[in-house]
Subunit: 80 residues, 2 copies
């Protein structure tokens, strides 16, 4: 089973990487973009096949390593 | 409207960042993980509200800036 983890900056946290992408898109002529936020997308290939058993483990991994919960949120989806 | 872009490495492309995360998870005691792949997640806040009009623009932005299509795939979803 695959766990798909999205790690995104919390609202209000400055995102210089997103701002740089936004400016680059404008420089390339893309108009009508109000803002850009960049996050991380992490796919974990798990041996576990039971979502209910896997979820606490993946949440623990997010809190301990994948996300900095002071400034980032995480969301977990399962597939397969 | 928001466009959510996932940029992931193509199958077969080595992912040292994912491997480092995998090793770090194992070092923290997380077992049962077969592999980790790390990608990017980019949220674009668009002025356009019509998905059919926005899609070609966002695809163009992916090809020109957001993804390196030699080694990366991209997927676009719209929300709102």
């Amino acid at each position: 089973m695959k766990a798909k983890v999205h790690v995104t900056l919390k609202a209000g946290v400055l995102d210089p990487q997103g701002k740089a992408v936004h400016h680059a898109l404008e420089a390339l002529g893309f108009a009508g973009i109000n803002g850009v936020r960049q996050g991380k997308f992490i796919e974990l290939d798990l041996a576990e096949t039971d979502r209910e058993k896997a979820r606490p483990m993946v949440e623990d991994a997010c809190r301990k390593l994948l996300a900095n919960t002071v400034i980032e949120n995480f969301a977990i989806d399962f597939e397969g």
